[in-house]
Amino acid sequence: MKPAPFDYIRAETREDALAALSEHGEAARILAGGQSLLPMLNMRLATPSVIVDTYRLSRAAQIREAGDAVEIEAGVTQARLLGWDGLAKALPLFAKALPWVGHAQTRARGTVCGSVAHADPSAEIPLCVAVLGGEVVLSNRRKSRKVASGEFHIGMMMTDRRDDEMLTALRLPRAKPGEGYGFAEYGRRHGDFAVVACAAKVTADSITFGVGGVGDTPVVARWDALDGSALDDALNACAWGLGARDDVHADARMRRDLVRGLGRRAIEAARREITA
């Protein structure tokens, strides 16, 4: 199908985009990489009256290391982050998870911030942001605010973004010595959305464990350095607590099984990688 008619605004700069949002508010929709929005326009699941095209911001968008954080500006594509030579050291969890985000062809245009803004419950990037405890920077014409990812993602494809705001950057804590990261996913085909995705960050005495694809938003649990049957019990309780539902891809029971199995795999992989 084809998109319903809309007015088009091409922003050359962030200021252009914010001015357009302040003028059109709720009627406007930002177009970033288009890898989620265009399918929604084509299927007429979205019928905005104004499209604010921010793709040209990609040219100037930066990946910046600022102290113990990495800042990824709106417009940085998933392919660019995956090819960034600092990735494995600064954001090992992203190095593991990004190859699971769609295909080379969609990562070439799809943006990192666009995935966070889109807030699909099965998306890998919001899951990793949640496990890392990242922050989202939201700006309107006058000011910027920072929101913790857990407060930003409030429901299935629902966020705390206001109509005149754009997600201008993502701030993620850099990996530190003594941490290890793991990621495991099951989908119908590689490149399809996850049925269940699990991400883990571990230290010698703690586990931060996140699940995507089951709840309406990524769900994060924090445990002591559990092992053996205590870890199985924690994963089992977590799996039951997610309120898994049946759909065409998997029933609730299969989803709980996947959380237990992939969860253990992600945590064990993370443990093997704890850096000195």
Partner: protein, 168 residues
């Protein structure tokens, strides 16, 4: 900042396979439809229009792109390469195209233009791409006929030939 109202059209200029071309587009016109219906470049096929099948894959400013997930407006000033640009001469196939022919890597051919554009880009950017990389990139496409094996064989063969080695 450029704006275009939904009822208007504008002139889009871009470089298609090295030639300057132009055509008119309204804001909602997809790049895939602009190529096919405005510019008459019907080599690019359209399967699903939601990014899944890969039939519409082209190269925009050097990177692979689903043309059904781009607006024609977004291609203003861009370098767009499509399957029509692969053959070096009207009566000669590219190394990759010839390998597809030798290996029977197409049957109905509906998926072929998109797969060729992805693989042509891969082999340009990564001449040493191995089977894993090739499978990964072909994984972004659906082919209902071949079962993929001949496509992978053709790509490996073309990669070897482009590196100056023997056919596999």
């Amino acid at each position: 900042m450029t704006t275009l109202s939904k009822d208007d059209t504008t002139l889009i200029r871009l470089t298609l396979n090295g030639r300057e071309v132009q055509g008119r587009a309204s804001p909602r016109l997809l790049l895939s439809d602009f190529l096919r219906h405005e510019l008459g470049a019907t080599g690019t096929h359209v399967g699903c229009e939601h990014g899944v099948c890969g039939a519409c894959t082209v190269r925009v400013d050097g990177v692979m792109a689903r043309s059904c997930l781009m607006l024609a407006m977004q291609a203003e000033g861009a370098q767009v390469d499509t399957v029509e640009g692969l053959a070096p001469q009207p009566d000669r196939l590219s190394v990759l195209q010839a390998a597809f022919r030798r290996h029977h890597a197409l049957q109905c051919g509906f998926c072929t233009a998109g797969i060729l554009m992805s693989l042509d880009t891969l082999l340009r950017d990564e001449p040493d791409a191995d089977r894993t990389r090739i499978e990964e990139v072909v994984g972004g496409h659906l082919c209902r006929c071949t079962g993929y094996a001949p496509i992978i064989d053709a790509a490996l063969d073309a990669a070897a030939e482009l590196r100056g080695g023997d056919h596999v």
